[in-house]
């Protein structure tokens, strides 16, 4: 089955699969940001006069929670566009 595939194409395909797997990291920030937004909405409902402070704190917390997802994204982008594995194979 793998006869017609060159090593370079195989490495490229595996890099694409790896990039897809790296983006599973997006689940965590999604859950975390949704949780923070829900709690923020609750807090605004309880104290509408403090809305500015609540929204600011919520956005800041969400930005920090997003970091792990961004790490996954950077790994995926590096695998897809910089292709370090292919370079390593060609230099072998």
């Amino acid at each position: 089955m793998l006869e017609g595939i060159t090593s370079e194409a195989f490495i490229l395909g595996c890099s694409a699969i790896g990039a897809g797997l790296a983006m599973i990291a997006g689940i965590g920030p999604g859950i975390g940001q949704g949780h923070a937004a829900g709690r923020g909405a609750e807090a605004v409902g309880r104290q509408p006069e403090a809305q500015d402070d609540i929204v600011r704190t919520m956005l800041l917390g969400q930005a920090v929670a997003e970091t792990t997802g961004i790490y996954g994204l950077v790994i995926a982008i590096i695998l897809l566009f910089v292709r370090p594995l292919l370079t390593a194979y060609l230099n072998l």
Partner: protein, 223 residues
């Protein structure tokens, strides 16, 4: 629109990418803007109501002043000009994708430079407020065996700060590029909504967050 500069220096080929050229364009725009504001504000009378242009500038300055006052405290207002510069540069850089240029913040060298500036400001003020011994003692808080963890945590700040801005802007650029090449002539029907999200909403939000985190890090080091 892509402007790249290729040149030869000491027999070596150097390619200046379009993100760096766009950074220069933004710097020129900001310098001209500053000169115009300076010229207008010198002519303005303090007793009269400000003109339309000056009113917008005043709103921006007062917004940043209020942000610094509420985040860092009223005794650290000398930090407001740096934050205003940061906000104006990042705002223009993130919104540059709207007029067809590549946003400079989609280049990691630009965001990492900005994050390094925050990092060194944090270290400088931490050194200044707590002294030579106190600076090193800060790393052993709350217990001595946590020192490696504290040092790693300090070094992770510029990396997370730069990757956050870079990843957000670059993901928008890549998704828009994929959409433009996939849809061809029909792209203008679907892309305006995505431009509004990726360029305007995400760009303004990331500017705000970068400025806020810079203020929190530096303000925390000053106490």
């Amino acid at each position: 629109m892509k402007i790249e500069i290729a040149m030869k220096l000491f027999g070596k080929d150097i390619l200046i990418p379009d993100t760096i050229v766009n950074t220069w364009i933004i710097l020129i725009i900001l310098t001209i803007f500053a000169l115009i504001v300076n010229n207008k504000i010198k002519k303005a009378e303090a007793g009269e109501k400000p003109s339309r242009f000056l009113n917008v500038v005043e709103v921006l300055v007062e917004f940043v002043d209020g942000l610094v006052k509420s985040t860092m405290g009223p005794n650290k207002m000398f930090f407001a000009p740096y934050i205003l510069t940061l906000v104006m540069f990042l705002l223009l850089a993130n919104l540059f994708g709207l007029i067809g240029f590549t946003p400079p913040t989609s280049d990691y060298s630009v965001t990492f430079t900005l994050a390094l500036m925050t990092f060194f400001l944090t270290q400088y003020y931490s050194f200044k407020t707590s002294g030579f011994l106190g600076y090193f003692k800060n790393f052993t808080e709350p217990m001595a065996f946590l020192t490696p963890l504290n040092i790693l945590g300090e070094l992770a700040n510029p990396i997370s700060l730069s990757f956050r801005l870079f990843g957000n802007v670059l993901s928008g650029v890549i998704i828009m590029g994929l959409l433009y090449s996939a849809l061809g002539y029909f792209a203008p029907i679907f892309t305006p909504v995505l431009h509004a999200y990726f360029d305007v909403f995400s760009g303004v939000l990331q500017t705000f967050i970068f400025a806020m985190l810079t203020m929190i890090f530096v303000g925390g080091a000053m106490d």
